[in-house]
Amino acid sequence: MSTESGHANPGYMRVFVFLIILTVAEVGAAMVLATSSAKVPLLIALAIAKATLVAMYYMHLRFEGRLLRFIAIFPLILSIILAIPPLVDALS
């Protein structure tokens, strides 16, 4: 949302329509693929797509510099790294 980056209104309503479509797809997939092995990866992919849309367009990360993008992405990478060992332990 930087004034320094000088972006214009980047199609907020279009992003909103995408978010609603993805949410409907998520709920639909959860019902239709209730017992399918494809359910979990598909739902996670849809959630990541929605979160990315909000971060990139509503939080304007798409228009920000490298520093802010790094600050936003670094804790996510760190979280994934930290989550892998206990998750592997729990599944085994």
Partner: protein, 208 residues
């Protein structure tokens, strides 16, 4: 002497860029904006810890209930829709003040606040029904992790609503302008972050 011409649709942005900032500028952004992003990064770690614990507990617990049988997914899907709409109204408030439209700023901030209150109310209804059915935090690991995850998010939404009320009051007092609206920008960043967290929680807790 050469004269630089600026296209009419870029005039507002040029005016904003040239206006003095109330906060020091560092690294191409105001220090207050840098600070809120650092805060949000710490919040990512906080929720990552909670979500990670939920996933590990769920994977390691042999008797996990079928969430669609226990939780009211349609009601919470409606709540998800409400929070997404509130993100749109929040970003429209920001777009409004960027364009110098005070009325749009006020309308959109009030709408966002109301939607945030509706979200909390619906979560209250959901919790009340679950507690009435005997799903309590002490009843099972599922109950404990569910209430901790959704409760902490609810607290963040509640904090956001309080901040939105303060931002709205400032907007009605004319404290923001086309050239000075850092408060609206920071409010938006926090509110969208709360939306992002819910998008992940809705999938992990209610759909998977």
């Amino acid at each position: 002497m050469t004269q630089t011409t600026v296209k009419p649709h870029l005039m507002a942005e040029v005016a904003v860029a040239e206006a003095p900032h109330p906060f020091p500028v560092w690294g191409g952004m105001t220090t207050i904006k840098f600070a809120i992003w650092l805060f949000l990064a710490s919040e990512v770690m906080f929720f990552a810890g909670l979500i990670g614990a939920y996933i590990v507990l769920r994977a390691g617990t042999p008797t996990w209930p079928i969430v669609a049988d226990v939780l009211n997914v349609p009601l919470v899907a409606l709540n998800t829709f409400i929070l997404i709409v509130s993100s749109v109204t929040m970003v429209q408030a920001y777009a409004g003040i960027q364009a110098g439209d005070q009325q749009k700023l006020k309308n959109m901030l009030v709408t966002t606040t109301v939607l945030g209150i509706v979200f909390i109310a619906i979560q209250g209804i959901e919790w009340s029904a679950l507690l009435g059915e005997g799903t309590t935090p002490s009843e099972s690991i599922f109950g404990a992790s569910f209430y901790v995850l959704t409760g902490f998010h609810g607290l963040h939404v509640t904090g956001g609503v309080v901040a939105l009320i303060v931002t709205s009051i400032k907007a009605f007092r004319g404290r923001y302008s086309q050239t000075s609206h850092d408060g609206v920008e920071l409010m938006g960043l926090y509110w969208h972050f709360v939306d992002v967290v819910w998008i992940i929680l809705f999938t992990i807790v209610y759909l998977i």
